[in-house]
Symmetry: C2
Subunit: 499 residues, 2 copies
Amino acid sequence: MGTQYDALVARLRDIHNLNMASSLLGWDQQTQMPAGGVEARASQLATLSKLSHEMFTSDETGQLLEDAAKEVGDDYDSDAASMVRVVQEDYDESTKLPTEWVTEFTELTSKADSIWVKARQDADFSQFQGTLERIVEMVRQKTELLGYDDHPYTALLNQYERGITTTQVKQIFDDHKPGLIDLIAGITENADQVDDSILRRPYNVDKQRDFGLKMIEAYGFDFNRGYQAISVHPFCTHFSSNDVRITTRFESNFLNPALFGMMHEAGHGMYEQGIGQNLEGTPLASGTSLGVHESQSRMWENLVGRSKGFWSWALPQLKETFPHLESVDLNTFYKAINKSAPSFIRVEADEVNYNLHIILRFEIEMDLITGDLAVKDAPEAWNTKFEEFFGIIPTDDAKGVLQDVHWSYGIQGYFPTYALGNLLSVQYYNKAVEAHPNIPSDIANGKFDTLLTWLNENIHQHGRKFTSDELTQKITGESIQSRDYLDYLTTKYSDIYGL
Amino acid sequence: MGTQYDALVARLRDIHNLNMASSLLGWDQQTQMPAGGVEARASQLATLSKLSHEMFTSDETGQLLEDAAKEVGDDYDSDAASMVRVVQEDYDESTKLPTEWVTEFTELTSKADSIWVKARQDADFSQFQGTLERIVEMVRQKTELLGYDDHPYTALLNQYERGITTTQVKQIFDDHKPGLIDLIAGITENADQVDDSILRRPYNVDKQRDFGLKMIEAYGFDFNRGYQAISVHPFCTHFSSNDVRITTRFESNFLNPALFGMMHEAGHGMYEQGIGQNLEGTPLASGTSLGVHESQSRMWENLVGRSKGFWSWALPQLKETFPHLESVDLNTFYKAINKSAPSFIRVEADEVNYNLHIILRFEIEMDLITGDLAVKDAPEAWNTKFEEFFGIIPTDDAKGVLQDVHWSYGIQGYFPTYALGNLLSVQYYNKAVEAHPNIPSDIANGKFDTLLTWLNENIHQHGRKFTSDELTQKITGESIQSRDYLDYLTTKYSDIYGL
């Protein structure tokens, strides 16, 4: 490649390294940092973010992009052409945000995190209200700085799912909302078909951890290039495709959160570990969108981890770890882990209810951004909508409006990608099985590399070279749709609940 | 203060934050990072180090220093005058090292760390030899770049103990070497006076950790502004005076390494936690020299933690944690933890033998730098000197030349500061007791704040405002000397061994 392209890549590597350092500061803040460190950490993150933003949005980067574009040729799929194309889009987006705004926002959201942790602990929204008001104000500024066509919220969506519009998302949500509501109604009438009490009893946390680690190692999460820790809200981050971190939240009286949480984060982690080494140290070395990322976590959590085939292999091992399960048969266990019922906490919601949790957040976020809803009224709006959607009201704000870390991060517009990920997980999985019909039977034999290799080849290796829609078109021949997901849910839950 | 001074401080804060981020990347590498992360981490550290070095050594910083100097007045002790004075010295030192050299050295030593860990594990110096050869070569370049008067090694010493010369250090070492040798001879003749077998038996690691944490919390290490983790080689680092980290290495069959190691690192940690908040986020917010730093760790480890008074308070608690100690009396325990005998590992060496370990390294480092000794011959030179000094030969390189992490870090010139710290620990402690004669009886009652407050006021709060010698003159009215240390050792060990 030409000398300007090489100079561009060298510059992007320094910027990438600053961003990876920021990610590590964030990881440490969630997993080890003492409370006293919060002020200094905010200042450190502000410096790194400022320097990275200054370097990236500088005229020098703009000029290198322009010059490198002339060197990379017109092979759309090549690493070099993709680098210039994708980074040019990043550059156009980033140059819209002034350095001062980015610095202030980073400092604000860094401090907000500890405030949110405390507020959630105390189930007291008022501790967080002032901070959230300032965040919403700055996010609103962001929509104006970034620009949008149909709705200010589109500016936020596009940060996580490039090219998608609020209108589109609303349409996709509307497409499957009635089907979900019908399915939930059917399940509610047959609620007595499933009993999950065996999962809700004391489970030794160390043993939960050991078993979960064994499962995700079997999946293919590479611990030579990965690490697991504990945090309040589970997440996955990476500082290289060869250094991928996941966290887990354990509950001592319920098996599901940690076990399926580990499978979920491992799904994210294996995506990052699968990025081609040719992209290492570049801005393309990451999952392409949050929706595609979530398709991977949900696939390993639900389509694999909550399948009957998987547990025909894993249940005997779980029984060895927890002998009190000895008398539980496969079908009872399979139904228990797939019990569906409205609940307060999104991260614990089952597959059927999950997307409704997202639609609630989507609607509230839109109203906060337009100003139709004041921050101080968010808890009430949350609870009102919750009753309307699920027929129950959160018992306190920790189980309601305070449950998610996202708003303290200032990443409004992120939530919809969870629902898009659910849809994509089934679209992709169906194609994988079409290519390799033995995948389900492999899973039932504890063999996961057929699926993982297909994902590596078709999705992971490409990093950010292709957008979510380009990838989905390549793989499935169509764009994201809700048909496959609703079919999957209907078939699975009709069987479980005898609908 | 003036606008140029404020601009200087703002610029220094960004540089400081880059350096603190580097420290966190280093901490993570030692405590959590998976093996696969090593290449990416080296690249990240190289970027941060390059940017920090570029920003600090830029003409802009030089100009700000020059302009700020006109604004700060001539009150030598003021924060502002100290800032400009000390940072000007840093600047003069740093501008001598070209950015390319610093980047290459950082990348080299970052990779060297993992290679050293593996070589030490396998007790195989040949795995590390090539890397060390390159490090020594670059360190030699460094001495020429930095410049020196009496000996190239002085250039290295001055990085850790500003203003001291190789000639001086050699003199101070020569001053107390004969006294140490006499004392060791006396102890060796009376070796049967002390039996430490009660310390060398299984000690549950979790209980060791719990007890150690209780002790250092009693000392005054603030866990709201501090955190402890596990690593191969114990160390202390900080990202703010409000975010101080220490690590511990546990042995399941010997009580001393973790217990006294925690006291030692807590001594370092309390120094950092005691830095004045007025200096937070500035380059003065750190201990002033490695020698003074070590005086704090050694004081809490030895003068407090290995005193009979301390254990008159702590032994009953240790007996609760480890009931098999129930029948051990105070005097037996006190003698056991102070057993003195030649041993291979510096970090396990007792107070009497310790400085000889340093003198060995001092001599080998000087010969490596001058080229009188080739790297490939270092293991043999080490073992030859070891026999000469201690009468025993290390059984393998892990117990010899490979035992310390320092050379892989490229911090040749660092070792002598350990011995200087031992000397200063007694000089300072004697002054503290002169000011507050109740300190020994307070310690015997588990009350440590009299000593800690004195240290906070006389040493900690000043950060890097004063050099080691300025501080020692202020506190003791003289420079560093070995008289107090030798007196202390002679009195203490004559009692223990009945000399």
